[in-house]
Amino acid sequence: MAIEHKLIGKDFIVPDIEAKVTGRAKYVEDFRADNMVFCKSLTSPIPHAKIRSIDTSAALKMPGVLGILTADDVPQFPPPAQGIFAKDETFYIGEPILAIAADTEENAVAAIEAVKIDFQELPHVVDPLESLFPGGPNARSGGNVAAGQIKLQTVKWEGADFATAGDTKMPLGRPAEEWTYGDPDAGFKKAKVIIEENFVSGTYSHNCMETRSAFSYWQGGKCFLYGSNQSQTAAIANISRYIGIKPNQLVFIAEYCGGGFGSKIPGYPNMAIAALMSKKINRPVMHTISRYEEYGIGSARPGFQGYIKMGFAPNGKMLAADLYVVQESGPMATAGDFRAAGAAMSMVYQPESMRFRTVPVLTNTVPVGAQRGPGENQFVAVIEPMLDKAARQLNIDRFDIRIINAPDSNGKIGHDRAPLTSAFLKDALAKLKTFSNWDERKKRSGQKNGTKLTGIGIGQGYHSAGSNGFDGLLRITPDGKLHVHTGVGNLGTHSWASTARVAPDLLNVSWDNVVIERGDTRRGLPFNSPQAGSLTASTESRTMYAAAMDMKDKLTDIAAQMLGGKAEEYELGEEKVIHKGGGKSVTYGQVAQKAMELGGKYSGKEMPDELNPVTKSAVAVIAGSGLIAAVKDKLPRVGTTPGLTCNVAEVEIDSETGVVEVKECMSVVDVGTVLFPLGLGHQIASGQIMGIGMAHLERHIYDPKLGIPAAVGFHQGKVPTYLDIPPNITWQAVEKPDPQHPLGIKGVGEPALGSGASAITSAIADALGGHLFNRTPVTADMILNHLSGRPPAHKPLQVNTV
């Protein structure tokens, strides 16, 4: 095999980028069809209510109206799962209740406005602690706590829990889940320094630039769906479930996705509306979603109310940790961030002992879900400044307290202390200390220059960043082209393209002779990893590796049949198979032609039974059209594959306005072998920029009395702009390959945000002499109140504040 890589690790022009810079890239609302009609949803104007009756009689008589879709027309999912439409009870402002199709979008909107609904208002809640209070409101009639394996139930804490805590401390009532490893009590006893804090992580919208409009029509018994989605084939099963069809009845077209950030991973309920309306009225249907509607159904990062206690040895080693996370879960059981926070604590700081308690509480706010580093990132953003407090009290360097606690490859994760495939965070921190010129830089810590206060912060980020077990599909056609079939989505991380370079690299095929098949199930797309969870680069490069090995075996096998001898006597040259003895060779195109004659496993007429059904359908599409390698990645991988990053940020705070200006950001990443340097740099920089948003800008605001959201747009939600970023974001990589990946590659997407955000929160605390806000975002008015000696405008554990 190629030892010197021609493609892996090299920069290249991403194939779809010209379409993006010329405006030719087609997103959902850019598609049209003959006889296409429009569909709009009616959404709830009330945070929590019984739906007593719906009167659509006037609406259905409106001009141009073609049909209506209600909860009775769509598949149902058991509560508290997020369904397509509210049925008898609505749980948040913006929840879809029904949809109407009309010849024009204007007529659909007019008809929606003519629907009469009789709501019976129910008590609502936007603050989890208020719901846990004895007698507090439940976000759903069925209860106030649910998530994944935690079934819907009502949890109320004791009055004494709240009385003991008072107004300033986190009450610590009965958790829904808990685990412990080691002996935390003994650890705290041994500790020289104990840090004990409450914290709040703000909720904020995903705010994808492309709203989740969907377009659908039916043809030949199949449902054609044009969707804005992060994943391609990984979403097919779920989308089919929403529509109520078999996966092989779905033709899913998702060539571009205008932003997802975790909110468009396995498809989403809203996609089914266009499909089911189209089926019902027998017309192509465009279901448009406005920015306001996107706020309601476009997901948000869950917030935390938390308590943390950490005990440190004199050298900074964390001996014990006690973490309690209450998650603001929205009204559906749609996010597992709370568990990830516990795992992150056990991973990033490797405490010798730890107790974790948690309860995910339902609220009448918009549904929440995974957002870039779900759980890990909002957690490190509030915890990292606390490490600095410990370092100050122990009188040790802020890098040193992180290095002593950071995982190496012997590190463990979770309560069962499961293994890691590799971890080089200690190396990354050591490298960052040099890269950031730390010893000089830290001298500026807390310096005052006129009205400006300088702060220097360190941040760390972690997310699992690699999986396995997916299917690779490659095809060589008689014209000599290598077709790389990829079921990876096009979120914008460019990893569908960088992973597609693995097969031609290993098979010695020129990039010019590669055709990438993607974006449309009709092209024959294998079952691949979701475009999420920092997974793609690592996972799909190993899938491609497995497929390339299978392709190599088939190439040499057929060459031996054509030219004589044994397969082992052949090797791969530049797009040809060569006899090692010299002389005899046959081109890939000729082998492909022969494969079509041979049939069977060579042409895709036969395939391994262990392939995913989605892959089997894909192979069937292309069977007989060349030499086909279809294989499941069965290469071993034991343990969690972590992506780990660390950042240094320098900020200036204006003491008269409270405004934070980010001056400089540096990052060092442990991502194993670098697959695509320019793309990696982009993930690091964008992670830092989104981290700036998390640290001091982005948030939800809810009126606590009326349950009305106030941060429904980009401006009110405080999405970062060009003016919020530093002039230069620089990075380096540790470049130590992961030993359990055939090419050593790990992912990076998510940790880059966590380390970026936590470097900023740490830097803000540093500029203010170590003052901890214990809250994200740290807004200008919080800083100003602190500097002028006024109390904060919010209570310590209040959420969804201005």
């Binding site: 810079v21 069809a33 092209r523």
Partner: protein, 208 residues
């Protein structure tokens, strides 16, 4: 290599629906004839209808250097007209309220948010959309080339607006400082956080 989708905006496998859609767009572009059968709303939840009379609806717009006759309602936005009546879907609508810049076009060389500009108000002005951005030889504009070289976009949804904003900026200030570029581009949001790479592209284009 080739990417089946970027080189051909239509999937290879034609369906009658697709073919029809393409011919619709082609027809609209080639003939310049207004197509009024498209019915997106201009304002969310408006339900408002155009008052009959008052304003002449069939107007001439100069878009990307060509005069186009279009049937335009009085309350219709420029983003709506260029996307759904002229078929120029490179211009995107994201916030639909002048916050994000995804819909940025130029009016007589000055950037504007087309989602919040009434089409009737631009009758005598030159409209430039992303489809009208090109280099001197009709190929890529140096801003587009720089965005490719610096890997500017991530998801790409804001990219058309970013390119138009950058071209307008460099037309007015060919050698901006980084700070000037930052301010010049600051009307365009990117939720992916691609600002750093976009800025590098603007600075590279200024050097080209």
């Amino acid at each position: 290599m080739s990417d089946a989708d970027s080189n051909k905006t239509e999937p290879e496998q034609q369906s009658s629906l697709r073919a029809t859609r393409r011919s619709f767009i082609k027809g609209a572009i080639a003939s310049g004839v207004a197509v009024s059968a498209v019915g997106y709303v201009v304002y969310e939840r408006s339900g408002r209808r155009a008052a009959a009379g008052a304003v002449e609806r069939l107007i001439t717009l100069n878009v990307n250097g060509r005069d186009r006759r279009v049937d335009v309602a009085p309350h219709e936005t420029l983003a709506h007209t260029i996307r759904y009546k002229l078929g120029l879907t490179g211009t995107k609508v994201s916030c639909n309220r002048s916050e994000c810049g995804a819909c940025t076009v130029m009016l007589d060389g000055i950037t504007t948010y087309s989602c919040s500009t009434l089409t009737q108000s631009v009758r005598n002005r030159k409209v430039t959309t992303i489809e009208g951005i090109a280099g001197p030889n009709g190929g890529l504009h140096k801003v587009q080339q720089a965005m490719i070289d610096e890997l500017g976009p991530q998801c790409g949804f804001c990219t058309s607006g970013q390119v138009v904003a950058a071209v307008a900026l460099l037309n007015h200030n060919p050698k901006p400082t980084l700070e000037e570029a930052r301010r010049g581009m600051s009307g365009n949001l990117c939720k992916c956080g691609a600002y750093d790479h976009y800025l590098k592209a603007v600075m590279r284009a200024a050097e080209a």
